[in-house]
Symmetry: C2
Subunit: 142 residues, 2 copies
């Protein structure tokens, strides 16, 4: 192969069925190509909440994100795939792009639809924002 | 593997360097997984031209498209990859989605940037239009 697509695969998780589908595809690819997975949950920082509500909201999201990552790690481990988990806070696509750059990822695998707020992200902006700014290739899993 | 991503790969070509990069990636994947490539060039129908200019413009694009497909086929054949070429006319993303459905493709591989008009397509709308409407997964190659 000209360049291994599968050495270091970044999988943004959001707890949705679609991101789980992306994770399963990533496990398959990593397993078949001795690749490593980086699972990330990005806590999307809300702008329109007052300080107190914001703190509570972020706390809930962090807890949820950690659960999602623990479950994702378990799935990968069960398939014998080498995996790292990371939780980030900020703008979802910016954080994904930054992480892909820092971790020198070769591929980002995302579901084609996400949950709630992220649905917009995965359909509208990921595609264009990630396609524009990602340092590596992107696989959108259906 | 849960489901072979690489059995039948659709690669929209537009003559740009980026679509050639996508083609090379598709050749690698097809070669390594005994997959088949379907190369398509979509003649984008202009709406804002008068009938005569429109006819000439379409004629030029058809010629260009055929050249792009011949070159693409040669590249795939040289790598020992089984390949079909198809030229279509209409709205680029609609035609790609229809073809992916008709040919039961498992994966669409596109460059992250295209030429001229298609640049917009590959950055803005593919991503979202294909992600929304594609019957299969999409790999956006950087």
């Amino acid at each position: 192969m000209r360049k291994s697509l599968y050495m270091n695969i970044l999988v943004p998780l959001d707890g949705s069925e679609n991101s789980q589908k992306a994770l399963l595809q990533a496990c398959d690819l990593a397993k078949n190509h001795q690749g490593h997975l980086v699972l990330v949950y990005v806590v999307d920082k809300p702008l329109s909440l007052n300080l107190l509500d914001r703190k509570e909201y972020l706390g809930i999201l962090r807890k949820f994100g950690n659960k999602v990552l623990i479950k994702g790690k378990e799935i990968a481990k069960n398939q014998g795939v080498d995996v790292t988990t990371i939780i980030k806070e900020g703008n979802i696509s910016n954080e994904i792009v930054k992480l892909a750059r820092n971790k020198k990822c070769n591929l980002i695998i995302v579901g084609s639809k996400g949950l709630g707020k992220t649905a917009r992200f995965f359909l509208g902006s990921v595609s264009s924002k990630l396609a524009n700014n990602s340092p590596c290739s992107i696989l959108i899993v259906k």
